[in-house]
């Protein structure tokens, strides 16, 4: 028994840490079924499906959610395209200023959000655009901070790529364009999709930068921030649960697809 325990102690401790990270998540899921007795809730008062059936009971929350989804989608799209191009440039091409480019990509990830957010705000104010703060300024900011993460993800996927497949394609008289679209791109695609998922969740989740550059617009995290003093509606927990389920579904599907493909190759 003690030998068994000693053998598995590290694993058990690790699983303990992992379980701890799920405590608040469990509370979020539980609270999504809560029927609160008062507006400011600190306990589970009763089970109900009401929150799930009436997600948009608070119209302001759903409006904020809609804005977050729109911005998340557009920011992901632009950041993924620009970031993928840059990733290819950094791994596959040689050009003057490569190391400066790498530094430029790295720095936004190393700066605290409050600094990124306040810099952008001073720029918008200096450019006389303080009246224009809103959808477009949020979008610009989100593309900016998602971009580096996309570049780094695509870059490492590309760098880890075995280039014998591409050489084989070239040996078999494929044109460079054919080689790219039939071999290289499908191999890099999982990395690009992973980067897109990461971008979306970064954008959807951002509060600090958005809060400084949003003018009168309210994103979902800003709604939660504004509502918390008076007590957030239980539907916020439904959204939290749905986000978790959505991303788990994406990740697990991706894994299953790539397993099947690997099996097909063998």
């Amino acid at each position: 028994m003690t030998a068994w325990l000693r053998e598995r102690m590290v694993l058990l401790l690790g699983l303990g840490v992992l379980a701890y990270t799920f405590v608040p998540i469990a509370v979020v899921v539980l609270m999504s079924f809560n029927e609160p007795a008062a507006r400011n809730v600190y306990s589970f008062d009763g089970f109900t499906l009401h929150n799930w059936a009436n997600i948009c009971e608070d119209a302001a929350m759903c409006e904020a959610l809609g804005l977050s989804l729109r911005i998340g989608f557009l920011a992901t799209l632009v950041a993924t395209v620009l970031g993928t191009l840059a990733g290819f440039a950094l791994v596959r091409h040689d050009f003057a200023g490569r190391s400066s480019a790498n530094l430029l990509i790295f720095l936004p990830m190393a700066a605290p959000e409050i600094v990124l957010g306040s810099s952008l705000l001073t720029l918008f104010v200096a450019a006389g655009a303080s009246g224009l703060l809103g959808f477009w300024t949020i979008l610009i900011a989100h593309i900016m901070f998602c971009l580096s993460f996309v570049v780094v993800t695509v870059r490492s996927r590309l760098a880890g790529l075995d280039d014998t497949l591409e050489q084989a394609a070239a040996d078999l008289y494929a044109t460079p364009a054919q080689t790219f679209w039939r071999v290289t791109f499908p191999l890099v695609l999982p990395g690009i999709l992973g980067a897109a998922l990461l971008s979306f969740s970064l954008s959807f989740d951002d509060f600090i930068i958005t809060n400084l550059n949003s003018g009168n617009e309210t994103t979902f995290p800003m709604y939660v921030w504004g509502a918390y003093r008076v007590g957030v509606p239980m539907q916020v927990n439904v959204i939290g649960t749905l986000m978790l389920l959505f991303s788990l579904a994406v990740v697990v599907t991706g894994e299953l697809v790539s397993r099947r493909r690997r099996r097909a190759l063998v």
Binding site: P24, L82, S118, S119, V125
Partner: protein
């Protein structure tokens, strides 16, 4: 391993330059790089310049009347005098949270890398899963857990760790715990990335040579995992130092951090020069600490 799960540890390693194979010269490289470079120059580099400029404006102006550029270096002296406390508090909370994350994160990353076997990918997915539930919602959830009526306080009071009137919410303990919780994945993923690369035969060799497992760990595994330790601590410390969501949700006005002050000065007080000076100062302090730290750890090639 899942691509998305894999993407994150790779992203999380700061190691800048993966060794590429043959690279093509010519115009295409510039064209591919151009859009991203322009975007970052316009919305990251130029804004930083305007932040520094704003911090030197005459602070007696206002956002409505406009400011005068007077190279008011005195702004910096003023903000240090007025706000050195939240400044130190931010750095201190972030350092404590980073320490806690390092301990918890190392255990978890080690277990996944060496003990999880074929469940590795599943555990990695579970590490990032909480990360996909909104940051603010997660932190509110902690507020609920640590609240005076919550089970944690009840249990600690029962065990006499806390007195009957003591509380957890609105204390530094809650803020640091929240920070340590929220930034844990940033620690685990780079640690995992570097632990996973370690050849287990090296550790076996140390035990073949009669090294005690602890000695083997200290002389073999730990030094080889240092790049992960350095990136992990940086990726945790930097965002934690700028964060104010945890301080707001889990602390009280006595736990105000520099992020609270900066956003308050920008948005509520409309005092851009003061807020800008604080931001610049935060950035300079963090860069200085990072440089010293990286040099100490002897892993300069990371940057």
């Amino acid at each position: 391993m899942t691509q998305a799960a894999q993407a994150v540890p790779e992203t999380a390693t700061l190691a800048a330059e993966p060794s590429g194979s043959r690279r093509r010269r010519g115009r295409t490289g510039y064209l591919l790089m151009l859009p991203a470079t322009l975007w970052l120059l316009l919305f990251f580099v130029v804004p930083f310049y305007s932040l520094v400029a704003t911090s030197l404006f005459d602070a007696s102006g206002s956002d409505f009347r406009g400011y005068e550029m007077t190279y008011a270096w005195g702004n910096y002296v003023d903000v240090v005098e007025a706000y050195w406390q939240p400044f130190l508090r931010s750095l201190w909370y972030a350092a404590l949270a980073t320490g806690i994350c390092l301990v918890l994160g190392y255990v978890l990353a080690y277990a996944i890398a060496f003990k999880a076997g074929r469940w590795k990918w599943l555990l990695l997915v579970l590490v990032i899963a909480p990360f996909f539930t909104s940051f603010l919602v997660r932190t509110l959830s902690w507020q609920l857990i640590l609240s005076d009526e919550g089970f944690v306080v009840d249990a600690l009071q029962f065990l006499r760790v806390l007195g009957p009137d003591d509380r957890l919410l609105a204390t530094p303990v809650a803020v640091v715990a929240g920070l340590a919780y929220n930034f844990l994945p940033f620690m685990v993923l780079p640690l995992f990335a570097s632990l996973d690369k370690i050849d287990p035969r090296l550790v076996e060799a140390s035990s073949d040579l009669y090294a005690h497992p602890f000695v083997g760990f200290w002389k073999v595994t730990w030094p080889l995992s240092l790049p992960g330790v350095v990136s992990g601590t940086l990726l945790t410390f930097i965002p934690a130092a700028g964060d104010y969501i945890n301080a707001e949700f889990l602390g009280s006005t006595n736990q105000r951090v520099i992020g609270n002050v900066i956003q308050g000065q920008f948005i509520d007080a409309n005092n851009s020069p003061v807020a800008a000076a604080l931001s610049v100062l935060l950035m300079v302090l963090i860069v200085a600490m990072v440089l010293v730290y990286v040099r100490r750890a002897g892993t300069e090639e990371l940057l």
